[in-house]
């Protein structure tokens, strides 16, 4: 049900784009909606971060995953239990760039029987990595449509990405990898009973959406080849706030489908779980040092509480205290 609704939502985006492009709504899909989406993205992203940032971090609660800094001769594991800011940055970098916590699952090794679970977990890390890195590279590649001259970073990435030099235009490795990893991530949500049980529409929708984007992208590059110059004119125009006359560019319905899917993703992003992009940096169990006893963490908004006053306690148990012979002096 959740999956079906998500799939239908993505398909209807494609249909709307085709219909709209055919009905002379190019300006809406090529200019108005992209601007609106980017505005939504920027405002939404910032608002969400601000909302998170507004809630304070009253306590320092890192999840420690290794030996803390302690006595000199005890080997400290700085990445598992960072003590300094530098170590926190390293821990975060490994987390953000290489999904270290997910990788942790593969460490398990035990006797007895095949270990299906570790295989599956390793796959989650692997396909997660492939997916995210491919997406990033594809994002960078697309900067070609918004820059003149094209920065060396972009051409360099393209060069590496088309290293295998298959087909004309050259097939990008990341295009394939993205589709493969997406298929795995989608398949997992259907086939693994546990994951299926916890999956919601909000989990299927972005996967289908990105799958739609990737597949229309591949079609545009390799099969229903689009007018790249026209796309770049649109990209540069949008960036310079002087969009070209879209009627003259004559971009295909498929291109508008691709664009509308991307537009939907951009607008959907700040409203959804995709905000883990920003959130991962703010997680108090990861971005704080485990130096609690060495450096005091200040609660910006401490709440006064009622405590059992010593004097009251002394009065309440005065007989017992006398029996025990405590002096209970105070300065």
């Amino acid at each position: 049900m959740n999956a079906l609704v998500s799939l239908l939502a993505v398909l209807s985006i494609v249909v709307i784009a085709f219909l709209g492009a055919g009905a002379g709504l190019e300006v809406l899909f090529g200019v108005v909606l992209p601007y609106a989406a980017i505005l939504t993205f920027l405002v939404g992203f910032v608002l969400r971060i601000v909302k998170w940032a507004k809630s304070p971090v009253p306590f320092r609660i890192p999840t420690v995953a290794g030996q803390a800094k302690s006595l000199e001769w005890i080997k400290h594991q700085p990445l598992e239990s960072p003590y300094t800011r530098r170590q926190v940055v390293l821990r975060m970098a490994l987390e953000v760039l290489f999904f270290r916590s997910l990788f942790r699952n593969t460490k398990a090794e035990l006797k007895g029987g095949p270990r299906l679970v570790y295989g599956a977990d390793k796959a989650l890390w692997l396909f997660g990595m492939i997916f995210h890195w491919s997406f990033l590279i594809i994002f960078i590649r697309h900067l070609r449509f918004f820059t003149e001259p094209v920065p060396a970073l972009v051409t360099g990435v393209e060069w590496v990405d088309s290293f295998f030099d298959v087909g004309l235009p050259a097939l990008f490795a990341t295009s394939v990898l993205l589709l493969v990893s997406l298929s795995w991530l989608i398949g997992r949500r259907f086939l693994d009973p546990q994951v299926r049980y916890i999956s919601q529409a909000a989990d299927y929708f972005p996967l289908f959406l990105i799958f739609g984007i990737a597949s229309t992208g591949v079609l545009l590059r390799h099969f229903a080849k689009t007018d790249v110059a026209g796309v770049k004119e649109l990209g540069m125009g949008l960036l310079g706030f002087s969009p070209p006359n879209l009627g003259e560019l004559g971009l295909s319905g498929l291109f508008y489908a691709h664009l509308l899917l991307v537009t939907a993703l951009i607008a959907y992003f700040p409203l959804s779980k995709l905000m883990h992009l920003g959130g991962v940096f703010m997680s108090p169990t990861r971005n704080l040092a485990n130096n609690n006893r060495a450096v005091r963490h200040v609660n910006p908004n401490p709440q006064p509480v009622q405590v059992h006053e010593f004097e009251h306690w002394k009065e309440e148990f005065k007989e017992e205290i006398a029996e025990a012979g405590y002096k209970l002096e105070r300065d």
Partner: protein
Amino acid sequence: MSELLAHLHARREAIAAAWQKRMMATLPHAGQGFLATSRDPLMNPMGATFRTGASRVTEALFSGASREELERRIDDLIHLRAVQGLPPSQALAFIPELKNVIREEVGELVSCGNDQAELDRAIDELLYLSFDIYVRCREQIFALRVRSMRDRSYKLMERAGLLWEEGPERESGMNRGEP
């Protein structure tokens, strides 16, 4: 009934696997996914107990093992079933279910006539001894509750003269498998 048993013994892996699936299925959702597929006894003790239990018990059953042997082999399984929050009837229903599992896996053994009845009786025996173990487990839980209450304020009670001397209860008995 050696003929039938030999026949079943040859098929015991399939039977054990099917039986284990039935056991898992008595827990909502647990019959699928990780708990069913992971064979690692340390990461998935429940699934592994079902799996090894099913295989060890069927192996013994189909080779006509003694009651003591069966008891030893089904012990882990019953320990698990006894704390799964199920009513006793459901906790032990997986044992007679083995009859159905065998029929489904091997087909009706009409030709084996008497053997069949004998096998059914053996499975009934298995149920009875399992019930003994089940009750022992429950009694152990009750005893552990009492012991926990005592241990919690052990020294206070000792000083108040509320404790019995180090008695047989502490020295022996409660630990499973230690006669």
